[in-house]
């Protein structure tokens, strides 16, 4: 079919002709259209994972920049850079290059801080994303694989952080490395062998920074990138979950098409995340390594805390009792082993296996694409809150010396608070959460049955006062609503069902025609008296001030 100028549908514009040229070679029009037409559900909490992705992107970009200047070596050098207080001090080449990066590279400090903030943001958004997935049940079949990949990525993100903040070899990071060394040593049977394999000998040796560096810039990011790709491919393949709502079923996705709405919003979010991290990186100082000084095994500063995501392990280590286990044959399982390797291992194992555990316990093996509201699954929600409380008490204990110092309480009291709190608080929170979930469930049903409180009090002829309720749907003979709960939020305020008309737009003066808005609202059935004809007062408000009138209202409950 030789194309001629008269062929129907043949592009006439230059751009169109080029598009045809490309499609002749790559045959992409079909897949591209399918991609552009893909529907994404719209909810703010679905953006949390995107924030993690974008933070990772920034960490990759800024980290690549840092590698141009950083020297991952423990070779001893004497600092001669422009930071006067440390001039002439012996230090490792790693710390020296971190200082040069901060003081002698134009914009280097900015990039270093951007990198650190991006890393913090990355882990934080992963954790919040994970909580959203957990509490809404998005991990259920068929998405267990993606949950598992997510947990693995969280662990990798933590490893990324640990290997990253060790690199500058300042006093704080060296202290952290010392503790990492002690944790590896504490592993029963293979501890010393593992330590010799990781450090190449006794602490600290000369290899560890180089090894952590290659893990930090190549090995872990490569695995993370691969897992992110799989995570997203599975997401696209399985389609995103959605909350229950009008028209939403287990077999469809309601929302916006990728192009242009979703793409524009996602790009907007990308830039907002970039902007926030860049702002933090410039305006909020983080890890000022020049204040800590070079690492020296004989020195330490008070309030030596890891980055926030490792704080829970520091806390568990602080509150764990002094329980060495001495085995026959003079072997020892050090106390340090339990709060670090075992606690972290157990936490992440339970987390990774949770979808399987829940499936086993509930016997629910069906595929789910509609999300649950946390209140509708009180056991899971309470378990989650319980785990979160456990985690938060550990995290708080990781900073117990700072609390003791700032609030002038005994450090030993803080430690006992942690020791008791980690056992007592989670069950208390479980019970409380369970009660709150049930309360919220009951209230939803109450509103469905009796209607929304309008705030309008009526006096009945015999003197009784009642509040008028607005039913949400058809009512039975007793005035009770007949709508069943469908897993979607139940409106509880008159405004949510169009009880009030929207404000007329415009800041200094109205930019809409008030009467036009009134007509539009009436057409939509908004406003309580939309079905009646209302007189407009001169201010553009209805004469009764928009308050619900008695006409057409449900009569007082009959029972």
């Amino acid at each position: 079919m030789a194309a001629t100028a008269t062929a129907p549908g043949a592009p006439t514009t230059r751009l169109g002709k080029q598009a045809v040229e490309i499609d002749d070679r790559l045959i992409v029009a079909g897949p591209l259209r399918r991609t552009l037409n893909k529907v994404f559900p719209d909810h703010w909490s679905f953006l949390l994972g995107e924030i993690a992705l974008y933070s990772f992107l920034i960490a990759l970009l800024s980290g690549t920049y840092l590698t141009f200047f950083f020297d991952p070596s423990l070779r001893e050098v004497v600092y001669e850079g422009s930071y006067a207080p440390l001039r002439g001090v012996e230090m490792s080449a790693a710390y020296d290059s971190a200082l040069n990066l901060s003081f002698d590279v134009r914009g280097g400090l900015f990039m270093r801080q951007v990198h650190h903030w991006a890393a913090l943001m990355f882990v934080a958004s992963i954790v919040i994303h994970l909580l959203r997935i957990f509490f809404t049940g998005a991990f259920r079949r068929p998405r267990e694989t993606n949950w598992l990949i997510g947990v693995v990525m969280l662990v990798l993100a933590l490893l990324m952080g640990v290997t990253g903040y060790t690199l500058p070899d300042d006093l704080l990071s060296g202290t952290g490395l010392r503790i990492i060394s002690a944790i590896i040593l504490s592993i029963p049977v293979i501890g010393t062998w593992a330590h010799w394999a990781v450090f190449g000998g006794e602490f600290v040796g000369e290899l560890i920074i180089g090894r952590f560096y290659i893990a930090h810039v190549l090995i872990i990011p490569a695995i993370l990138l691969a897992l992110i790709a799989v995570h997203l491919l599975i997401l696209v393949k399985q389609k995103h979950t959605q909350f229950a709502g009008p028209g939403r079923t287990e077999h469809n996705v309601v929302g916006n098409r990728l192009f242009p709405t979703f793409a524009a919003k996602a790009t907007g979010l990308l830039f907002i995340v970039f902007g926030v991290i860049a702002g933090l990186g410039g305006l909020v100082q983080i890890n000022p390594v020049w204040l800590w000084g070079p690492y020296n095994p004989a020195q330490v500063s008070a309030a030596s805390q890891p980055d926030w995501y490792i704080l829970f392990l520091d806390g568990s280590t602080r509150i764990f009792p002094a329980w060495d286990i001495n085995l026959p044959g003079d072997y020892t399982i050090p106390a340090l082993f339990w709060p670090t390797v075992v606690v972290a291992g157990a936490m992440f194992t339970v987390l990774a296996l949770y979808p399987m555990i829940e499936r086993k316990l509930t016997g629910d093996t069906a595929s789910h694409h509609l999300l649950q509201r946390p209140r509708d699954v009180p056991v899971r929600t309470s378990l989650g809150m319980m785990g979160l409380t456990f985690y938060l008490v550990l995290m708080l204990s990781g900073a117990n010396d700072v609390f003791a110092d700032k609030f002038d309480v005994s450090l030993n009291a803080m430690i006992w608070f942690g020791r008791l709190g980690v056992i007592v608080l989670p069950p208390v929170v479980y019970v409380l959460t369970y009660r709150i979930c049930l309360g919220l469930q009951k209230h939803d049903r109450e509103v469905l049955e009796h209607g929304i409180e309008t705030g309008v009090i009526r006096r009945l002829p015999h003197g009784e006062f009642i509040e008028v309720h607005q039913p949400l749907g058809p009512v039975d003979d007793h005035g009770h609503g007949t709508l069943a709960y469908g897993g979607a939020p139940v409106p509880k305020k008159m405004n949510q069902i169009g009880g009030a008309r929207r404000a007329i737009r415009g800041f200094f003066s109205p930019i809409e025609e008030p009467s036009q808005v009134e007509l539009e609202q009436r057409a939509e059935g908004r406003g309580l008296a939309a079905d009646e004809s209302r007189e407009l007062t001169s201010s553009g408000r209805p004469s009764e001030g928009g308050r619900p009138s008695e006409g057409g209202r449900p009569q007082a409950p009959q029972d």
């Binding site: 129907p8 549908g9 259209r33 037409n37 893909k38 422009s82 207080p85 003081f103 002698d104 134009r106 914009g107 900015f110 951007v114 010392r178 002690a182 040593l185 010393t192 010799w196 394999a197 190449g200 000998g201 006794e202 602490f203 028209g247 287990e250 077999h251 469809n252 309601v254 929302g255 916006n256 098409r257 709405t261 524009a264 790009t267 907007g268 979010l269 830039f271 907002i272 902007g275 926030v276 702002g279 933090l280 410039g282 305006l283 020296n296 004989a298 020195q299 030596s304 009792p321 002094a322 044959g329 072997y331 020892t332 050090p334 106390a335 340090l336 595929s367 117990n400 010396d401 809409e512």
Partner: protein
């Protein structure tokens, strides 16, 4: 599409699809498609992808005040983003040229202390505003459509046909019958796997040769020196004070296990001192020397509160009582800090009488055995 090549096999654009071609081009002729307006084409394609546009809320009416205001807003935000981006460039290249130097001085309160914050402010605002502009654009100027896409469960047809292909391939390979091949493949896989893992053996070193964890640089007659290398006499320290000392060997002050605390006890502390069993003579007069490396996780224990005779490790808050042989009295540490036996040499300077009698630093599996 034209071709000037007339050789056989080069049919140019005159190629005709085979009988299995199929696809939407058979359902819709170019003429039919050309007759459809763009909106219908969009919806037709969407339907083809299982997407239905339920409802479109058109954006503001063209030319209305609403639209004009939204355009002004979005334009303003994008302009500001550009302005801040240029401000970043000016700050970045201007420092040290027409602005003061960006490099930080210890005393500096001026431009160079502002350099990094300004970079963050300008780049942050610029990128943030780009994002805000895009969101405003989507919310205020684009039509809001609600689309619904069907979700397909796994297809039985696909499963059966794919299964047939896979099983057929496996059957044709005859692996189920040809046992020699499967067995040799298994043998080969195991061998190859092991072989590829072997180089990791380079990481393995024996930690038990020469007892590196149990020894330090301390030995009989090694002087206790300060960080600057100066030796210490009894009487240099006030009662109740603590000093960090190192072995007088090259690099002794950089070794991770040698740092030691030399403590001069107050008379009151001395009176109630109860050293560990068999270590009564490890001190010298009112002086005692303990390892500075915490027996919990290896941090240097540093905070000495002499009123309570306690040494606190700032990492995990283990507390040791120096009057009771540095026994742990609170926190996660389980073992006392090892005590260094000390005396004075002929010139009156502190020296060690021997290495620590036990391993310093964190506990490990076979610590008691070596």
């Amino acid at each position: 599409m034209t071709t000037h090549d007339t050789r056989p096999g080069s049919s140019g654009g005159a190629d005709t699809p085979g009988p299995l071609y199929g696809g939407p081009d058979e359902d819709y002729t170019p003429e039919q498609l050309a007759a459809m307006p763009r909106e219908d084409l969009d919806r037709l394609g969407a339907r083809y992808d299982g997407v239905e546009i339920l409802h479109v809320d058109p954006g503001p009416e063209p030319g209305s005040r609403m639209e004009k205001r939204a355009i002004r807003q979005v334009g303003l935000v994008f302009t500001l983003a550009g302005l801040f981006a240029f401000a970043f460039v000016v700050v970045y290249i201007g420092s040290g040229w027409f602005f003061p130097d960006w490099q930080w001085e210890v005393t500096d309160r001026g431009w160079s202390a502002l350099f990094t914050p300004l970079l963050g402010l300008t780049m942050g605002l610029s990128l943030f505003l780009v994002g805000v502009g895009l969101v405003l654009y989507t919310k205020k100027l684009l039509p809001h459509e609600t689309a619904v896409q069907d979700k397909h469960d796994g297809s039985h047809f696909d499963r059966v046909t794919t299964g047939a292909t896979l099983v057929g391939g496996l059957h044709n390979s005859g692996l189920a019958r040809r046992k020699l091949i499967t067995r040799s493949l298994g043998f080969m896989g195991g061998g190859l796997g092991l072989m590829l893992l072997m180089p990791l053996g380079g990481l393995i070193n024996n930690p038990n040769t020469g007892n590196p964890l149990g020894r330090t640089a301390w030995a009989e007659g090694v002087r206790l020196v300060r960080n600057d290398g100066s030796p210490i006499r009894p009487g240099d320290q006030e009662p109740g004070s603590l000093e960090t000392v190192f072995p007088a060997v090259p690099g002794g002050n950089r070794q991770s296990d040698a740092a030691t605390m030399l403590i001069r006890l107050r008379p009151a502390q001395l009176a109630e001192a109860r050293p560990r069993e068999g270590q009564d003579d490890f001190g010298y007069g009112d002086y005692v020397a303990y390892s500075k490396i915490c027996t919990h996780a290896g941090c240097p224990v540093s905070l000495y509160e002499q009123e309570t005779s306690r040494i606190l490790c700032p990492c995990h808050q283990s507390q040791f009582d120096v009057t009771q042989g540095a026994k742990p009295v609170f926190g996660p540490a389980t073992r006392s800090l090892p005590q260094l036996p000390i005396t004075v040499d002929d010139e009156g300077y502190f020296v060690a009488r021997a290495d620590y009698p036990e391993a310093v630093g964190p506990t490990y599996w076979n610590r008691e055995r070596i």
